[in-house]
């Protein structure tokens, strides 16, 4: 099982001829991800180590039956690339590009809703179902197949957390980087439900950070819908107000969106929040009764 990606994933890479696109395409393929094609306007007919390249996603879908797309194009072109994938019949789009304008994402959201297409990102490191498929830029060596589902607004913080999980013997069902932008695709609520429904997932790790109130909403959702154990971590307890902490979405505005509020919201519904990264696997093991 696992969620979103697995052995049935047929991936097309949009922006496959770019520096990052080609580099990570080969990494994904090396991990065993079924990369069926790439898109790069004007480079149709070429190939990247045997992966055929097309001018449009439509051709890639028609000729290689891609069902999932990952996007490495520059941010100003990302919204168009996402919509192109959706229009071509792709059902899951992962957008790695960082710096996509927020109004582009608002427009994209409305379009994807009409088309019934799922999006992860933008500005995310991608997702992985260990031993089945990695889509994005994740360092695969830290992951291990197992029963913990993980979702995170951050990249490297996720890697740290995953390596702590793995070194503590806690493998992962699927790990999803949901991205650090204010308006993004699949978020806590949808992913919590997917992990809840996934028989392979036994516990859930939620890594949040300052900005917005998605964590507060997630807490509310967990209270009402999630029966599996959840442990959270919130980054940005020392972040000042009004400053964008790297991620476009990580900003405390008018005293709202603080780590304190988020931690309190989780604890109010019985979700433990690790104060230090190293504490997280310990709490999780206790909840999973693995001690």
């Amino acid at each position: 099982m696992s969620i979103l990606v697995n052995k049935d994933t047929k991936l097309v890479v949009q922006g496959i001829t770019g520096r990052d696109g080609s580099f990570h395409t080969l990494k994904m393929k090396a991990y065993g991800t079924n990369v069926v094609s790439g898109v790069s306007p004007g480079k149709g007919g070429q190939n990247l180590e045997g992966i055929p390249i097309f001018n449009t996603v439509e051709e890639a879908v028609n000729l290689t039956h891609a069902n999932t797309s990952v996007i490495f194009v520059p941010a100003p072109l990302a919204a168009d690339a996402i919509m192109e994938a959706a229009e071509a019949g792709i059902k899951l789009v992962i957008c790695i590009s960082e710096g996509v304008p927020t109004l582009d994402m608002v427009k994209v959201t409305s379009y994807l809703n009409k088309k019934g297409v799922k999006l992860i990102g933008a500005n995310c490191p991608g997702l992985i179902t260990p031993d089945e498929a990695m889509i994005g830029i994740l360092p695969v060596n830290i992951f291990k197949k197992g029963n913990v589902g993980l979702m995170s607004r951050s990249g490297t913080l996720t890697y740290l957390m995953v390596s702590l999980l793995t070194s503590n013997g806690l493998g992962q069902s699927t790990c999803v980087g949901i991205g650090g932008d204010p308006v993004a695709g699949l978020y806590y609520q949808e992913l919590l439900q997917m992990f809840e429904d996934d028989p392979e997932t036994e516990a859930i790790v939620l890594i949040g950070e300052i900005g917005g109130d998605a964590e507060e909403r997630a807490a509310e959702y967990i209270k009402n819908h999630i029966t599996k154990p959840v442990v959270a971590f919130i980054a940005g307890q020392t972040a000042p107000q009004g400053k964008r902490m790297g991620h476009a979405g990580a900003i405390i505005t008018s005293g709202s969106g603080t780590a304190e509020e988020k931690i309190a919201a989780f604890e109010a519904v019985g979700v433990p929040v690790a104060r230090l990264p190293v504490d997280l696997p310990v709490i999780l093991k206790k909840l999973m009764k693995l001690d």
């Binding site: 100003p76 304008p101 959201t109 490297t156 913080l157 996720t158 971590f233 000042p240 230090l276 990264p277």
Partner: protein, 379 residues
């Protein structure tokens, strides 16, 4: 990116949203001339990029030219929440019958543009939101359609009953939406939107924030940026691929990734230390970026210790180590450095820096504790 009130008023005018006349002044002399030209009651308003000017005494009514000059002398040079007032706006003080709030923002949860309106104008909307959330009307705007007449009318009828006022408000709301969309704003507020004694609907004050991610296509907006000293440093860092924010502490941080950078700061704080900055050297870090980052950290005289925390994924630890070695060779680094490398090529990285006698640590917690210990030694 934030802009000043006087710039927001300019944008309102550009979109034909009615605003009282005003003049931007840098000196009391300019204020005197402006007040004389107005020849009626004016308001003198501090132009700083922070809320709460009114409470801080940064906004004053002046019935005469003399009063305007007195106000200007008081306000110019004033410090408001750490921001020095360098300019004031002298504006026609129209007679106000009633104040309202209207604004547009992007709602992260519904992923749509949200129009907000309230009859409680003139105060900060966050306070209204906390004390009387029901007083704020929130209407999602379908960006496929834009702000339709009927939606603008629906909102206007909730604020006004006179059809003449409704019609003026409908035009203002539609223009405000246009301003929001066309300039990639993340927040635009008219606060207060007022009815004047002549039954005109007007914008008296405006607040605007723009999407940094969209500035590449908003050249005119980017040109409005007036960064303070800290922000200039942030922008300079950005040009080198670094995300930097100065803080009040003394442990300089260098981390790859925004989330990990925040978590690193949190861990330092957890063990009783104070981070001097947020510094994300980004994904595929070249050695040069590390050199730039070291220069940036060394330029802050508050920094007593440098703590480097790298989790190698795309970033390779050996690249970071190479950059650090270059920096150490180039510049005179007199303060202690704690470095934690893990993930991709961590061992090679540690080997590269092994000659430099840096403290070795095994975990993030240990690194933070060591940095704090060294910092306390220096003090």
């Amino acid at each position: 990116m934030k802009i000043h009130e006087y710039q927001a008023r300019q944008l309102f005018r550009q979109y034909a949203i009615p605003v009282p006349d005003d003049v931007l002044c840098y000196t009391a002399g300019e204020v005197e001339k402006a007040a004389r030209d107005f020849n009626r009651m004016v308001v003198v308003k501090a132009q700083v990029l922070v809320g709460g000017r009114g409470k801080a005494g940064g906004v004053k009514l002046a019935k005469t030219v003399d009063e305007a000059v007195i106000a200007a002398n008081k306000i110019l040079g004033m410090d408001i929440k750490g921001f020095k007032v360098e300019k004031v706006l002298v504006a026609d003080a129209v007679e106000i019958n009633k104040e309202f709030y209207v604004g547009l923002t992007i709602d992260r949860n519904t992923k749509s543009v949200l129009f907000m309106a309230s009859t409680e104008g003139g105060v900060e909307i966050e306070e209204v939101a906390k004390e009387n959330p029901a007083a704020i009307l929130k209407i999602p705007i379908d960006t496929d359609l834009g702000m339709t007449d009927f939606q603008a009318r629906k909102i206007a009828f909730k604020l006004f009953s006179d059809i003449n006022l409704v019609k003026q408000a409908v035009e203002i709301f539609k223009k405000l939406y246009k301003l929001f969309i066309e300039n990639d704003a993340s927040l635009v507020e008219i606060n207060p939107l007022v009815i004047t004694d002549k039954n005109r609907v007007m914008a008296i004050d405006g607040k605007m924030t723009f999407d940094d991610n969209a500035l590449f296509r908003q050249i005119d907006i980017e040109a409005l940026n007036e960064p303070d000293e800290d922000e200039k440093k942030e922008i300079a860092a950005k040009d080198k691929g670094l995300t930097y924010i100065r803080l009040d502490g003394n442990i300089g941080c260098m981390v790859n990734g925004a989330g990990l950078a925040m978590a690193t700061m949190d861990v330092i704080k957890y063990f009783g230390g104070n981070p001097a900055n947020f510094l994300d050297i980004g994904g595929s870090s070249s050695p040069q970026k590390v050199v730039d980052a070291m220069n940036l950290l060394m330029s802050d005289k508050h920094v007593k210790v440098i703590m480097i925390n790298i989790f190698g994924g795309i970033t390779r630890c050996d690249d970071v180590a190479r950059g650090l070695v270059t920096a150490l060779d180039q510049m005179k680094v007199t303060i202690p450095i704690v470095i934690r490398l893990s993930g991709t090529n961590a061992e090679e990285g540690l080997r590269i820096i092994s000659d430099y006698n840096l403290p070795t640590v095994n975990s993030l917690s240990e690194a933070a504790q060591e940095a704090i210990r060294l910092c306390n030694l220096v003090n």
